[in-house]
Subunit: 369 residues, 2 copies
C-alpha cells in the first residue's frame, strides 16, 4: 500500500534508522511501537540473499523486557508454562507466554543473563506492562523494564563467516540459542546464534543505541567479501519455514497448542504459573484448531495480504489462511493457516481471499522447507 | 517520511478503510495494532475545516475494552484512581489508568453502558491484556474483551448540525461526554458528544463493522450542506488545545500529575485501586515534571517530528518538547513539553531539535487556545 507514514514520537525510530535509509529502505511496518524496515525495493533479491548468502537486518523492534532482582527467576517461571529449571546462564529458549485463559499473548525468546536476570526478547505486544502487573500482584521483589537494547540480525548461510570475521572464530562454537557478551572494538554486544529465519545466523544485541550507525557500518564492511546486503524479516522465507508471527497468525483466542508450541508447554509446571490451569483444561478438551501449511491453486504470484482469507469445506467455514506468499523455491502460492483439527495434510479445501477471489488449496505439513 | 507501509494482518485495517482511500487518504500512522489515517494531502485545509466547519474522522483505532459481568464495576474502579461512584449509565469520564508504580499506562474515556458493563475507549496501549491480568489475579467474576466497535468522529463547530440532520434534534440535548444508543436507519450506533479536539462534536460508535462504508457515505452526504470533508486527529489543533497524546507526550515514568490529570486522581479512593499507594507517595514527594506549552523562536513552519527535542537551562537538561507544530492561529511554532517543575510560564529556555538545530523558547500555560 503506497501510503506515507506520518512522524510521531508514539512510533519510535531504531538506532539503525538513518543507516537503513542510507541503504535504501522503501517500506516499513510498525512493531512494538517502533518503525520496522520491511523492504529495500527488490523482494526477490532480498530473499535469495537470505537463502544463499548473507543479509543484515534492523530488528531493533525486537524489544527486550528485562526482569532482574531477587525474585527474577520466580517471575520468569510464573510467566512461562515451560519449566525453566534447566535453562542455563548464557542460553535462550523459545517460550509461550499465556494469559490466565491460556491464550498466547507473546512468544519470546527468554535469555538467561544471570541467575537473577533475564531478557524476554518479545513479539509485537506490550509484555512489559503485563509482566509488571503480575510481579506487583504477586508482590515479587523484582524490577521489570525495557532496556534500550537494539538487535541487529545477520542471517543466511554465510552469516557465520561474517560474524567470525568480526568477532573471531570463537563465535563458531556458540550453539543454537546460546549467547555471549562480547566486545566489537569498544562496542558492547550480546551475541546470540538466533534470528527469525531458518537460514542460520546471529543476532547482535547492541547495548548502547548511540553506537547504532557505527555497528551497522562495521557489519556492512565485514560482510562485503560475502556479498552482504540489507534485508528484513522475510515473509516468503518465514512462511516456507513455518515460523510464527504472533499477532499476525494468531487471534485473541489462540492457545500454544494451536500453533505448534505443544512441546514448550509443560502441564506439570507449578500451579502458580499464569494460565496453567486453563492450559490443562484446553489440553484435556483438545484444542479446536491447528496451524498447518496450505498451497493455493492461484494464478500469478501472491504478495503479503493485510487480512486473513477464509477456508471452507463446501459452505462451512473451517479456518483461515493467516499469511500468504509466493514461494520462490516451491514455485507456488503458499500460506499458513489456522484450521479445524478435523482437517489434516492432503485435505482439499476452498479458499476465499479478502478481495473476494475464490480458489482451492491443499493442506500441508509444516515446515514447507 | 515518504515510506510505504507494508501489509500485514498484525496491523489491521479499519471498517472505514476503503472509504478513506476513496476519499484520498495519503498518510497513516498505526495505533492499537491498526492503521490510522493521518492526512488527506492538505494539512491546512483539514485544520481550518476542523476549526471553522466540520470534519469526519476514521478513528476506529480508538478501541474499546469492554468489562462486563457481576464484578465489572469493581474491576473498573480497581483500574481507575478516580472515584467512579457518581459515574452514571449513559455518561463517560476521562480517567487515568496507572500501573502499580503510579505510571500512566493509558488515558481512556470510560463509558458506563449499564451498571455491570463498561467500555474503556483507549489510547495506544494494550489495556485489554492488563485489565484481564488484574481481573484474573483478583479473582473477579468479569469478562474483559475488545469488541469490534469502530468510532467515526464528526468534529468542528458545525458537527452538531450534521449529527442533528442525521439523527434528529434530540442529539442537541446530549451533554459533553454523555452518550445514547441510537439507530441511524437500521445501523446501531452509540452516539457520544466527545472527540479528540476542542472544537466540539460527536463520536458515532459503530457496532457492526460490516456497515462501515455505508455509515461513512451517509455521514458524508448529510455533511455536504455544511461543507464536510475528511480529516483526522489533528496535530496542530490538539497541541493548540493542549490535548494529551499518551505514548507520544509521555514516557515510561510519566505519572498523571505530570500531564495535568491532577483532578482525575482521588487519593482517598479505596486501597485496592492499582497504583494508588504509589500515587500517594508521588503526590507527597511532589511530581518532578509538569506538562506545559512552549513557543519556539524558529524561522519557518514546523511539522510534526518523530522524536522529542531537548530543553536546556544553560547546559543543564531540564525537559523535552514532546510534540511540535506550526500553529496557524497563533502564527508561531509551538509545542507541548514535559519539564522540571522549577520552570513555569514565562521561563526562557534553550531548545535543541532532534536534527541538531538550536533555538530558544518560552514556556506558556496550556491550553494555548
Amino acid at each position: 500500500m503506497a501510503f506515507e507514514i506520518s512522524p510521531t514520537p508514539r512510533v519510535r525510530r531504531s538506532p539503525f534508522f538513518e543507516s537503513t535509509v542510507a541503504d535504501g529502505v522503501v517500506s516499513f511496518s510498525t512493531y512494538n511501537h517502533m518503525l520496522m524496515p520491511t523492504g529495500y525495493g527488490d523482494p526477490l533479491a532480498e530473499y535469495w540473499r537470505l537463502i544463499e548468502g548473507v543479509s543484515m537486518w534492523d530488528v531493533a523492534v525486537e524489544r527486550q523486557v528485562e526482569v532482574v532482582g531477587p525474585d527474577a527467576a520466580k517471575l520468569a517461571q510464573i510467566l512461562c508454562p515451560r519449566k525453566l529449571e534447566k535453562l542455563k546462564v548464557g542460553a535462550g529458549w523459545y517460550v509461550p507466554i499465556c494469559d490466565h485463559r491460556g491464550t498466547l499473548i507473546n512468544d519470546p525468546i527468554i535469555l538467561k543473563l544471570a541467575e537473577d536476570r533475564f531478557w524476554f526478547s518479545i513479539a509485537d505486544g506490550d509484555l512489559c506492562v503485563f509482566a509488571r502487573a503480575i510481579a506487583a500482584e504477586r508482590e515479587l521483589d523484582v524490577a521489570v523494564f525495557e532496556p534500550d537494547v537494539a538487535p541487529l540480525a545477520i542471517q543466511g548461510p554465510k552469516a557465520e563467516d561474517v560474524v567470525a570475521d568480526l568477532l573471531g572464530d570463537e563465535i563458531r562454537e556458540i550453539k543454537h540459542f546460546r549467547f555471549r557478551e562480547m566486545m566489537l572494538d569498544d562496542i558492547t554486544l550480546v551475541v546470540a546464534r538466533s534470528g527469525w529465519s531458518k537460514q542460520g545466523g546471529f543476532e547482535l544485541y547492541l547495548i548502547d543505541p548511540a553506537r547504532g550507525p557505527e555497528l551497522w557500518q562495521t557489519v556492512k564492511e565485514a560482510g562485503q567479501p560475502y556479498g552482504i546486503g540489507p534485508g528484513t524479516p522475510n515473509n516468503m522465507e518465514r512462511i516456507e519455514s513455518g515460523l510464527l508471527s504472533w499477532g499476525g497468525d494468531t487471534d485473541d483466542d489462540t492457545n500454544p497448542y494451536e500453533v505448534g508450541m505443544d512441546r514448550y508447554v509443560h502441564l506439570d509446571v507449578h500451579d502458580e504459573v499464569v494460565g496453567i490451569q486453563a492450559l490443562r483444561r484446553i489440553w484435556q478438551a483438545g484444542p479446536a484448531r491447528h496451524q498447518m501449511g496450505i498451497t493455493m491453486d492461484l494464478e500469478g504470484q501472491l504478495g503479503a495480504i493485510d487480512q486473513w482469507s477464509r477456508i471452507f469445506d463446501e459452505d462451512v467455514l473451517i479456518g483461515h489462511v493467516t499469511a500468504h506468499t509466493w514461494s520462490p523455491r516451491l514455485e507456488a502460492n503458499i500460506g499458513l493457516c489456522l484450521i479445524s483439527r478435523s482437517y489434516g495434510p492432503g485435505s482439499r479445501v476452498g479458499i476465499q481471499l479478502p478481495d473476494g477471489r475464490r480458489t482451492e488449496g491443499e493442506l500441508r505439513e509444516l515446515p514447507f522447507l
